[in-house]
């Protein structure tokens, strides 16, 4: 019997085989993905090179050091490759001659237009990746997937008909692109404008002297402050006297608010995602264990989660971050890591409660008993037979929780805790602009505040959309409409 040559059913292999059988669509896909990746390859390389490699290098034994050095050289060279989205492709920094002509900007465009073009380019690039993601799904579904139909198809269809969820997706897409491409999106950079303004200069045309002058950014910032009534003000969509364009206006310190917001988005996203990875990991592990073992294990986790939930989360995080301030942990990523840890370790009970139900449900399914009945180990049973059914629910609540974390971080920064200055964080902008809300410098608080609201709403909408897509019965109110819409779409 064993001598017969049977085809092997390993899933990966059959997928590979199926691609080999019909390489056309896959090659087309590759033909788009490779250039798309190539134009930003330098940026990825520089991200990789920005990790603390020197620490790794010095830990290596001697004979490897040379090799590591050579590798580092290659890495640096790659990191310096030109990229499509670097600031220099469309440069928006320059000065204006009295004739109205702009010098230094790309094609002599005005900084506002140059900046806008760059933003559009970046978003187009981000959108291209999203489209590629959708395309990959379609190609896989139509060309390479073994099954004609899978439950996920219905979920995708339901989500496509869920306008609220799609709105959420659009907002989150905008937010994520803002965070990922923050250095390219700002009219200036964090280093030049916010953290080291006295190490950078700008050129401007001094009308009194009648010539082009160079000035430290720090000094220039002092003349572009927004301080409401009686003070200077650089509002949204305006230039300051040094020919710098400020899409969102400036902070009371004269720094560019848009650059601040873009960098702050990165910090918020980092904290949100890291804390969710922690909280989600704990929540899923506990949910699987409690659903599998029930009884005492369940009781233990219930007690642990109740005790954590009985703490006022924000107050506790404030205390803890105060206690931890000054330690090495608090200096990682300007305090972002410690916040992520705190939000993660205090946030898992909520997620655990949310996925415990689905985990219990799947633990009652007969294939779990079947797995037990042929002696499968608990860890494998949980991972293989329960986890796939819990992940979707985790996604829903992760999305809803992320909004909460972003508000929390902003709130802490508003109070002067959380992210250390000068690393940008949205909450600090809200706080800085607080005295000027009723003045012409209203933008300082209002723009970040509104953005927090929009992003949090976006995460909630996305979570709603995913929930209705996964489980159409879950929401009676809107679920009904969605269901009929989904039925139409799925047919």
């Amino acid at each position: 019997m064993s001598a017969v040559d049977y085809p092997v059913d390993e899933d990966e292999q059959t997928l590979l085989e199926r691609i080999q059988d019909e390489p056309g669509p896959a090659l087309k896909l590759l033909a788009v993905v490779v250039p798309l990746f190539a134009v930003e390859f330098g940026a990825v390389a520089s991200l990789v090179m920005s990790l603390p490699w020197s620490a790794v290098g010095s830990a290596l034994p001697g004979f490897l050091q040379g090799l590591a050095g050579a590798l580092a050289g290659v890495g640096d060279a790659l990191a310096n490759l030109p990229t499509l989205l670097s600031r220099s492709v469309i440069d928006n920094s320059g000065y204006q001659l009295p004739s109205g002509e702009w010098v230094g900007t790309t094609l002599g465009l005005s900084p506002a237009v140059a900046w806008l073009l760059r933003v559009l380019l970046v978003y187009a690039y981000g959108f291209a990746w999203m489209a590629v993601g959708w395309w990959v799904y379609l190609v896989y579904r139509d060309n390479y997937r073994y099954a004609d139909w899978a439950p996920v198809d219905d979920m995708v269809n339901r989500f496509r008909n869920h306008s609220w969820g799609l709105l959420g997706l659009a907002i989150i897409f905008a937010f994520v692109v803002l965070a990922l491409f923050a250095p390219a999106l700002g009219p200036t950079t964090v280093e030049a404008n916010i953290s080291d303004p006295y190490l950078h200069t700008v050129e401007y045309f001094d009308e009194e002297a009648g010539s082009v002058q160079e000035i430290y950014v720090g000094d220039a910032n002092r003349d572009s402050q927004s301080r409401g009534q009686g003070g200077d003000n650089v509002g949204p969509l305006s230039y300051d006297q040094f020919g710098r364009f400020h899409p969102f206006g400036t902070l009371p310190s004269g720094k560019d608010l848009f650059t601040f917001m873009a960098a702050g988005a990165r910090v918020s996203l980092f904290i949100g995602v890291l804390s969710l990875l922690i909280a989600g990991g704990i929540a899923v592990t506990f949910a699987l264990a409690t659903a599998y073992y029930k009884g005492l294990v369940d009781l233990g986790v219930v007690i642990a989660s109740d005790s954590i939930q009985s703490l006022p989360q924000l107050l506790f995080i404030m205390l803890a971050s105060f206690v931890l301030s000054g330690t090495w942990l608090a200096n990682l990523y300007s305090g972002g890591v410690v916040l992520a840890l705190l939000f993660g370790f205090t946030g898992w009970p909520g997620l655990w409660r949310a996925v415990r139900g689905p985990a219990l449900q799947v633990s009652e399914r007969e294939w779990i008993d079947a797995a037990k009945s042929f002696g499968q180990r608990p860890s494998v049973t949980m991972r293989k037979h329960m986890l796939p059914y819990v992940v979707g629910y985790l996604l829903i609540y992760a999305s809803l929780t992320l909004g909460g974390v972003i508000i929390g971080v902003a709130g802490l920064s508003f109070l002067g805790l959380g992210i250390n200055a000068p690393t940008p964080e949205w909450g600090r902008a809200v706080s800085a602009g607080q005295p000027y809300v009723p003045t012409q410098s209203w933008h300082i608080s209002l723009i970040p505040g509104i953005m927090v609201v929009i992003v949090v709403t976006g995460f909630n909408a996305l979570g709603d959309g995913i929930r209705d897509a996964i489980d159409p019965q879950s929401d009676v109110g809107t679920g009904q409409q969605d269901e009929s819409a989904a039925a139409g779409g799925g047919a």
């Binding site: 019997m1 064993s2 017969v4 049977y6 085809p7 092997v8 059913d9 390993e10 899933d11 059959t14 073994y146 099954a147 029930k294 009884g295 399914r365 007969e366 294939w367 008993d369 079947a370 797995a371 037990k372 009945s373 042929f374 002696g375 499968q376 180990r377 608990p378 494998v380 293989k384 037979h385 796939p388």
Partner: protein, 387 residues
């Protein structure tokens, strides 16, 4: 009577298939040489209001190569019995102290979860009622059989796939080499149950517990699966505990039959004996309610009422409210299994009417005494043969 027609069918089958075993049945009353021995099993479920005694003092044994049919209405505790044997009783359920499940001389009720893992599959494997929900819909059938193979035979990769295909062929799945990489939803109901059986066989078990394996299937498929099971049994020397509510199915597969009612075994006998000569009023009722092809359009009898859900130790006959032959003592004395008559050691019934050849008063006293003797431990055990 309808039972006669069935009994003939039973005779034919038995004479062809397992003549040797039926000879052994009489001799094998001592508990020691049975492969699986369940004694005084009590499985209870604690709820907020009460404690449900789902299985209340069940005892039986299965010899090597034998099929024991466990039959009863839904809610009689058959499935809980199966789960108790497999060690799959979860909170809030528990086995009461004094319960014993011995497999191959090894006491299973004392085992830790870890210890049980070594018995499950390779010792005792289980086939569940609904093949669709027994297979995980997100993995291929082959993947799930290979999962069992890697656990019990250490096979992986191509070896495992080849073995999985071989097993699928053994259980009669055509074109197994292709179907091994299909998903459960691409299989028909009967094919799925065959795949589930292949999964159980992958563990190379000694005992197969089949919990209503044909209930979810239509009649022709049902017959094929039953045939498959008896072929596999002959081939692998399996012992089978076959659980069903269907007296017709039991007639076709079992060597011996235990009838369960409200958590207790009320009658136990070799299959022919049970069908030809049912003694317990409940068994008689069950047999009268089987549709019979030979007898034409005669009206079927049903047993009025439902199986009660016992929540305290029995002090009466649990069947009394539905029993057509109930008399005064039935309300006061809990019957224990006794031989139905002098010398019929392999045919026991838990009913105050037996032993039939004793005066009524003496029989009732005997039940009452057995109940008092070391209650509640002895109540409901197959005291007739072991005590």
């Amino acid at each position: 009577m309808a039972a006669d027609a069935n009994a003939t069918g039973v005779d034919e089958r038995r004479s062809s298939a397992r003549q040797t075993q039926s000879d052994d049945v009489d001799a094998a009353e001592s508990a020691d040489d049975r492969l699986l021995e369940v004694e005084n099993l009590r499985t209870v479920f604690h709820t907020e209001r009460e404690t449900i005694r789902a299985v209340d003092g069940v005892s039986f044994g299965i010899e090597e190569g034998e099929t024991l049919g466990l039959v009863g209405e839904s809610g009689s505790g058959k499935s809980v019995t199966a789960r108790s044997i497999m060690g799959l009783v979860d909170d809030p359920g528990e086995l009461l102290p004094g319960s014993s499940v011995r497999f191959d001389g090894r006491e299973l009720t004392d085992l830790t979860e870890k210890g049980y893992e070594s018995v499950r599959g390779s010792g005792i494997a289980m086939v569940f009622q609904d093949p669709l929900s027994t297979l995980n819909p997100v993995y291929t059938v082959g993947n799930q059989i290979e999962e069992a193979l890697s656990l019990h035979r250490g096979l992986s990769g191509i070896d495992a796939t080849e073995k999985a295909i071989e097993l699928l062929e053994d259980v009669g799945i055509p074109d197994a080499a292709r179907r091994v990489s299909e998903y459960p939803h691409e299989f028909s109901g009967g094919m799925r149950q065959r795949a589930v059986i292949a999964m159980a066989l992958a563990c190379d078990p000694d005992v197969l517990v089949c919990d209503e394996p044909t209930t979810a299937l239509d009649v022709t498929i049902q017959a094929q699966i039953l045939e498959l099971l008896s072929d596999l049994q002959a081939e692998h020397g399996l012992s089978i505990l076959f659980i069903t509510h269907d007296m017709g199915v039991i007639a076709e597969v079992a060597d011996r039959v235990a009838v369960m009612y409200a958590g207790e075994i009320v009658e136990q006998a070799p299959v022919v004996e049970l069908y030809e000569n049912p003694r317990h009023p409940y068994t008689r009722g069950l047999l009268r309610s089987i549709p019979s092809t030979q007898q034409g359009a005669e009206r079927l009898e049903t047993i009025a009422g439902e199986v009660p859900t016992p929540n305290k130790a029995a002090t009466d006959c649990r069947f009394a409210p539905r029993c057509p032959e109930a008399f005064d003592a039935c309300e006061e004395v809990h019957p224990v299994p006794v031989p139905v008559e002098e010398g019929a050691e392999d045919h026991t019934a838990a009913c105050l009417l037996y032993p039939e050849d004793e005066p009524r008063k003496a029989a009732v006293d005997r039940h009452a005494a057995a109940g008092d003797e070391d209650s509640p431990e002895s109540a409901g055990s197959t005291g007739g043969d072991s005590r």
